[in-house]
């Protein structure tokens, strides 16, 4: 499976439908079954790595993000982020070498290659400029500044329950979706045509529309349930796999290193996340602040 080809294809098209992405992923994996799971994982990775936005404006559409050079938490490092083509990678390599940056293409299994540059801030900026890219120093911190608190995703107006739609609720204790109606949590309504809508069910039983992941975190904040945490000693951010961070949050966590999270014990583990970024993500997601390291 060549995820580079998949990203090149998406970059060439610019945007497309979820179904088409799903099919392309299935084609590349040559899987007879289980390609839904492959497509889902690729979607998570492509989104987390800042390459593609999925379900743009709550549609079934994906859109490739503009390429840029994202500075990592290690100030001497940056990765190519967003759409890409073989020509762009070649141009970036030439620019990096002409400005004395170390350039490396790191193949990752089932993922687009990690295009890494190492050098001073000025060298990285100059290389980016030569390749017609924008360079952002410590990109994750910039992403954090522009995040919206999960509670603001929740619509102001309440909605009536949808009649004739099947329903699931997110069990905050068991950390999984269960059939039926639970109070004070996120709910998924599914029409007979497969359309899905998500709501947060407040304490009064009122439904307010919200994106899926934000709905779970908004409900968890209401109920003081912990779904994510940060270990200051190891700089790891751990998130329940069944309740991944909202897409833009996950992207900020991922782009501290430019490496996608690893899956372990039903959790997504983001490594080398800086304390400042982790604190911002958790507080904005309504989760407890991880604390500040004492000097």
């Amino acid at each position: 499976m060549n995820a580079d080809s998949l990203l090149h294809w998406m970059s060439h098209l610019g945007e497309g439908s979820w179904h088409r992405f799903h099919d392309a992923a299935a084609w590349l994996t040559r899987s007879d079954g289980g390609h839904a799971e492959t497509a889902r994982l690729l979607r998570i990775y492509f989104s987390d790595l800042g390459c593609v936005d999925f379900f743009v404006a709550e549609s079934q559409r994906w859109r490739v993000r503009s390429p840029l050079l994202a500075g990592l938490s290690d100030e001497r490092q940056a990765v190519l982020c967003g759409g890409r083509s073989p020509m762009l990678v070649e141009a970036l390599q030439a620019a990096a070498e002409s400005h004395g940056c170390h350039f490396e293409i790191q193949p990752l299994q089932h993922l687009p290659s990690r295009i890494l540059l190492e050098g001073d801030k000025e060298q990285l900026a100059a290389a980016a400029q030569d390749a017609h890219l924008v360079y952002y120093h410590h990109f994750a911190a910039i992403l954090c500044r522009n995040l919206t608190p999960v509670t603001r995703y929740v619509a102001d107006a309440s909605n009536e329950p949808l009649i004739g739609w099947t329903m699931r609720s997110f069990d905050l204790r068991k950390r999984r979706w269960v059939e039926g109606e639970l109070p004070g949590t996120a709910r998924e309504y599914r029409s007979k045509f497969g359309e899905r809508r998500f709501y947060v069910c407040g304490r009064q039983g009122r439904l307010r529309a919200a994106p899926k992941r934000a709905a779970i975190y908004a409900a968890a904040a209401l109920q003081n349930v912990i779904l994510a945490g940060y270990d200051i000693e190891t700089s790891t951010l751990t998130v329940a796999a069944s309740a991944p961070l909202p897409e833009t949050y996950a992207r900020a966590a991922c782009l501290c290193t430019g490496v996608p999270p690893r899956y372990e014990d039903n959790s997504w583990i983001y490594e080398d996340v800086t304390p400042a970024v982790a604190a911002a993500l958790l507080v904005l997601a309504g989760q407890p602040h991880p604390g500040v390291p004492i000097v």
């Binding site: 294809w9 179904h19 084609w27 503009s66 304390p275 507080v283 407890p288 604390g291 004492i294």
Partner: protein, 675 residues
């Protein structure tokens, strides 16, 4: 001599003519679009036509510029562009000004000759007498008439332009241009454009009904033999006009079929029932994740149909994220009767009625789809290709027996919970023994014996374009494929047991690849990917600071003594602070066991004092100093997000404390001085 850039044109008799302003490049754009679509495309054609019908014009523009107009709009824009150039350049000087090549190396006359074909399409139609070609051409060009011709037009010059184009195609591209049988005699000049338009506009308008009735799909290559057979059968009644029918029966038959092929390639899937109503087919799609069948409605989306289609009566909604199609929507189990009896979903748009339709169905052939993973509904089962069949439950036994005959093995329906009620599904149907006599109800699953080459899967980026790293699989169906030779780019290649071409990596290289098998040909292009339509979003690099703090009451200060902000967290999780100034310290006003002073800046700037302060600023300075000193009095624990700053944190904090003390002292001296 064309001196367009200087707006000066010199005629053949050295007469200088100063030209008016022409909207530069609109003509050139159409010239390129028509050349790319009609003359130089990758399609396999014996001879090319300049088949500039409204539908072809829209498709040509969309292919090159990725902007889709309706046929009517495309025609209007094309005519306006050609007419403008003609009025300003050709009418004053003569047709010879179109004789050269443009900046792209293309003959400049292509768009003009295209318009001459468009004029030919309208003969026997509208307000013109049957053979009034030149009045129609004059009206389109809008340059007036002289001696019965458009101003600036001469029959000899017109013929010369056609000859130039024919020679250029032959010499540069080894392509044969359609040419009339007769080159002399009365009417032979008009025969030049007419040889590209043997079917007139009124006949072309009926073609979508033919395409839909025969189950053709937009953007699918039809085999010439199959198209000829089915079109002849369809046109055999009184569907074509007398002139169309006679063209089909005489020596122009090949030209008619070429024109139909162009129209099929440019067709967007809609069928107009009237000027106020058009419809498109709802296909079915079968996906098999983990061998669990899932059926979907998969409507076509012609250009005139909206991105969101909503039928309010039946509550069916479709969204389109890809040109030509709406996204598949699962078929609920309860929709079995709907599927059997057929349906129409309607919506109104700009006083037009748009309909998605599927007619009464007994049995459906589901074949590998070139657009989606899985199997899509199609007319007839391709020979020697693994397919699926969906049928009404009442026909299960009959279909099973038929499938046993054509596959040579027993076929049983599969039990699947996701299927619509009252329907049965047969998987792994590979027809190898076509039957000549098929019961009428089972005609939709008759075996197609003509050789067909169809691409499946891959990373497709255009009509017949794929990117390097994701070429399609090429399947070849048909009764003769077992014995036939298959060649790829002129080299003999083999097929596997499933009828899939073994390309030996040849499709991994960029370029145009041609597959030939038993008279059937297909050209596909493999390209290196580039960027398209990426939205340039810049992340805001906000000024000031952004910091997340634990729960509590905080005072955030900057390096300048007038930079201060009080905040407190309402949520138990903590508080996010955004300041306009660059925050350096966050001081917790309620002592806790956790850090009381948090450094939030890296690197940490030294304290700074504004020289001139307003009264309000002096108050803030007092608060700034108070915040630092009151915290210092409690011997604060100092925290920091950045470990690297930890070693000299206390020393820098000490500098801030000293600065605060200095501020208090200076303030005291100032007060004492006033007293």
């Amino acid at each position: 001599v064309n001196a367009r850039n200087g707006r000066l044109l010199v005629t053949s008799d050295n007469r200088p003519i100063y030209l008016g302003t022409v909207k530069e490049d609109e003509y050139g754009k159409w010239n390129r679009a028509l050349a790319a679509y009609c003359l130089l495309s990758n399609e396999v054609r014996e001879r090319v036509c300049l088949a500039a019908s409204p539908r072809v014009l829209a498709a040509a523009w969309a292919q090159l510029y990725r902007q889709r107009f309706s046929s009517e709009d495309a025609e209007k824009r094309f005519v306006a562009a050609v007419a403008e150039l003609y009025q300003h350049e050709v009418a004053p000087a003569g047709l010879h000004v179109l004789g050269g090549v443009d900046g792209d190396g293309l003959p400049r006359c292509i768009a003009f000759l295209g318009l001459s074909v468009l004029a030919a399409l309208a003969m026997s139609h509208e307000d013109y007498p049957a053979h009034a070609y030149y009045p129609r051409l004059s009206d389109l060009l809008g340059a007036g008439r002289e001696r019965g011709y458009p101003r600036g037009f001469t029959p000899e010059g017109f013929k010369q332009l056609w000859r130039n184009l024919r020679r250029w195609l032959k010499e540069k591209h080894r392509i044969v241009l359609s040419w009339p049988q007769r080159e002399q005699g009365a009417g032979h000049i008009v025969a030049l454009p007419l040889s590209h338009a043997p079917l007139r506009r009124i006949d072309l308008q009926k073609l979508p009904a033919f395409f839909a009735s025969c189950g053709y799909s937009p953007s699918i290559v039809a085999s010439p033999q199959k198209l000829e057979k089915e079109f002849t059968l369809w046109a055999g009644g009184d569907r074509l006009t007398a002139s169309g029918l006679s063209a089909l029966k005489d020596v122009r038959r090949g030209l008619v079929l070429a024109q139909v092929t162009y129209e099929l390639e440019a067709w967007d899937g809609s069928v107009a029932e009237s000027p106020y109503s058009s419809w498109a087919q709802v296909e079915l799609l079968l996906d098999l994740p983990r061998r669990q069948p899932q059926l979907f409605y998969w409507p076509r989306r012609p250009h005139a149909f909206p991105e969101f289609f909503s039928d309010e009566q039946s509550n069916h909604q479709f969204e389109s994220c890809e040109e030509g199609w709406y996204d598949p929507v699962p078929i609920p189990a309860g929709d079995g009767p709907l599927l059997a009896h057929g349906f129409e979903w309607k919506m109104r748009r700009s006083s037009r009625s748009l309909i998605l339709r599927r007619s009464e169905t007994y049995v459906v052939a589901l074949t590998p789809s070139p657009h989606q993973a899985g199997f899509a509904s199609r007319r007839r089962l391709p020979h020697n290709i693994k397919c699926a069949v969906l049928c009404r439950q009442v026909l299960e036994a009959e279909v099973s027996a038929y499938l046993r005959n054509i596959t040579g093995r027993s076929c049983a329906s599969v039990a699947a919970p996701g299927l619509p009620s009252g329907w049965k599904l047969f998987l792994d149907v590979k027809p190898v023994h076509p039957i000549t006599v098929v019961p009428p109800l089972l005609e939709p699953i008759e075996v197609e014996t003509d050789v067909e080459i169809f691409p499946i899967g891959g990373l497709r980026v255009g009509k017949r374009q794929w990117i390097v790293g994701g070429p399609p699989r090429l399947s070849i169906s048909g009764a003769n494929t077992v014995r036939a030779e298959v060649s790829l780019d002129g080299e003999r290649v083999d097929l596997d047991a499933e009828g899939v071409l073994l390309d030996n990596g040849m499709l991994s290289t960029p370029g145009v690849h041609t597959v030939v098998c038993a008279g059937a040909q297909l050209r596909i292009e493999v390209i290196s990917p580039t960027f398209t339509n990426l939205v340039g979003e810049r992340e805001e690099e906000a000024r000031g600071s952004f910091v997340a703090l634990p729960p509590g009451r905080w005072t955030v200060i900057g390096a300048a003594s007038d930079e201060l902000l009080h905040c407190r967290s309402l949520a138990p999780s903590g508080v996010v602070v955004r300041t306009r100034f660059r925050a350096v310290w966050a001081i917790n006003r309620v002592p806790t066991v956790a850090a009381k002073v948090v450094c939030v800046a890296t690197p940490i700037p030294p304290p700074a004092f504004p020289i001139i302060l307003s009264a309000a600023q002096r108050q803030i300075v007092a608060q700034w100093a108070d915040a630092v000193l009151s915290s210092q009095a409690l011997r604060p624990r100092i925290g920091c997000f950045d470990e690297a700053s930890g070693s000299h944190l206390r020393r820098v904090w000490g500098a801030y404390v000293a600065a605060a003390r200095g501020l208090v002292a200076s303030r005291r001296r100032s007060t004492e001085g006033q007293l």
